[in-house]
Each structure stands twice: as C-alpha cells, then as structure tokens.
Symmetry: C2
Subunit: 166 residues, 2 copies
C-alpha cells in the first residue's frame, strides 16, 4: 500500500469540485460527490468527517445539507489534507535497533538511544523534505492548473449537474 492512501486521493478530487462551486452553490452532498466521480459513498462520507474535524470542510446537516469548504482554497494545502486523512504518519518508524545490540549489557549507552539514531535522522529529513513540497501546494494552485487545461464547458457542466441534481 502506498504511503498516501486512496482516501487522500478521493478527498483531493472531491475538494477540487467543492472549490469550483464554492461561491456558486451552498453545499454539495456526499451522494452527489460520490455519484459524480463513481466513488464508494459511505467511504467518502467517512473521509469527509475527517476533513471536517480538521476544519477543511464544514458540514451542513439536514435535508438540502452537504459540505462546503471550511476556508479559502488558497489556505488548504495538500499536506493539510494528507494529515487530516492519514494522520501524522511517519515515513519511517525507528525501532531503536542499535540499542538492542548484544555488545551493550542490559542497558544501552546514551549515545545509542532513539532520539539520536543517525538513520532515523536521515529518514526524518527525507520526510520533512516531502512535506515541504506538499505544504506549499494548495487547492487553489491545483484548481488553477486544472482549469488551465480543461475546457471552459467542464466547469459549467459541473455546476449545472450539481444544481439540477439529476
């Protein structure tokens, strides 16, 4: 399984649609989002409650309810979404192997302890590097890139679809 789950993928694509209709439509329901993209409805619902807990979206209960963005698309980074869905998962989980070395007696010396494992340090550096990339990309950036290559009709057809509720 990949480090970044498909849940994140579902979330990002769905958020992209929400961003498109943010100023034009009150809210979009999970059923609509799932239907539109042929995604599993219940699963997408769970994903959105996570996004809500992170403040990325805002849920509106009751009939005619749904979700809308919790803040501006330019204030939602890809990293925000990844961490909201997958949690603050580590790229690498140091298990402190060196401290188990038989050459030490019952207690490992302090220089071999978890906090300063050289291998872990490198992995953390790599993780930070990846996160920096994800942190500087926002929903707004992606929307811009998509609308640059998508035809104008795409957005309008989406708005139409989501308001008419076929």
């Amino acid at each position: 399984m990949a480090y970044i789950s498909t849940g994140v993928e579902y979330a990002l694509h769905s958020l992209l649609f929400l961003a498109m209709s943010d100023d034009k439509v009150g809210s979009v329901s999970i059923r609509e989002l799932a239907d539109l993209q042929r995604l599993p409805t219940d699963f997408l619902a769970k994903i959105f409650t996570k996004l809500q807990h992170a403040g990325i979206v805002e849920g509106i209960e009751g009939v005619k309810g749904g979700f809308r963005l919790g803040r501006s698309p330019s204030a939602i980074s890809v990293l925000d979404v990844v961490q909201a869905i997958d949690g603050r998962k580590l790229l690498f989980e140091c298990q402190d192997i060196r401290a188990r070395c038989k050459l030490f007696g019952r207690k490992a010396p302090t220089w071999a302890t978890k906090g300063c494992c050289s291998i872990n340090a490198i992995m953390l550096e790599a993780q930070k590097s990846a996160q920096t990339v994800l942190a500087k990309r926002t929903l707004a950036d992606i929307t811009k890139r998509v609308s640059a290559k998508a035809p104008k009709s795409f957005e309008s057809r989406y708005i139409e679809w989501v308001t008419e509720k076929v």
Copy 2:
C-alpha cells in the same frame, strides 16, 4: 505500517556493521548479524538476498561463508537500500479518479488522463524530493556520524566479537 519498512531498518543497521568490519574481516554470517542485534534470523536472511540481488552485498557460500559489502560504503546510498528491499514503491498510486467523472461520456477526454493528473504530479514531486535526500546519504556518511559519537571501544569490541564468534 510505515512507508519505509522495518526490513530496511534491519538492512541499514546490519550494513553499518559490515561497513565497520569491511577491511578487517572476510565476511560476516547472517546468524552473527542477527544474534548481535537480536533480530529474527530467517527474516534477515531474506533481506540480505534482496541486497545481494541489488549488488549491495556479496554472498559467500559454504562454511565460513557469509556476506560482505558489494562495493564501497561511499557508493551505497540509503535510497539504494530502500529500493533494494521495498522495491520502487510509489509514495502515492494515482488511480485516475478524474477520468471516471460522470460528466464525461464513456471515454474521458485526453486532458483528464493519468499522465497529466495534477494531483499525481505534486505527489511525484514530493517523492522525488524525499528520494533526493535519501540518495545523497551514503553508508559512509552514517558510519562517520556514528563513529563520531560512539566510543572507540565499540568498534574494537565488535571486531573482536565477530572474529572470535563466541
């Protein structure tokens, strides 16, 4: 589970020992390496055959056999080890969600196709960034950092242990 498996961790720690004794001992057996670090022997064996296929270590069969580094520690990057053990795993597996969008008919337009998914592009960028960090760190670097903080006696005790075979 973390993106970088514990197999990689076992491999790196073991390779560090091999690097220490590289010029002083012909080869070290899996049993010794596992015993020294209290790691599961059979599992470590499997890991080392992967490292061998990648040319990172060299196996010597028969009694008195074992493994030694396949090339200089400065020519073995952390990324080499990660890819040898975990394969060329992607940080993110694009499933081409956008192409499933109901707004398209039976066939998605070319602008929405896998190769140019904007989300995937960002993930690939993040992955590349992490890999760059891992690629520039070599076994030699780590060895240097470890021996800087470990007491001199550590290395000599290890060499002693591995030659005497208690």
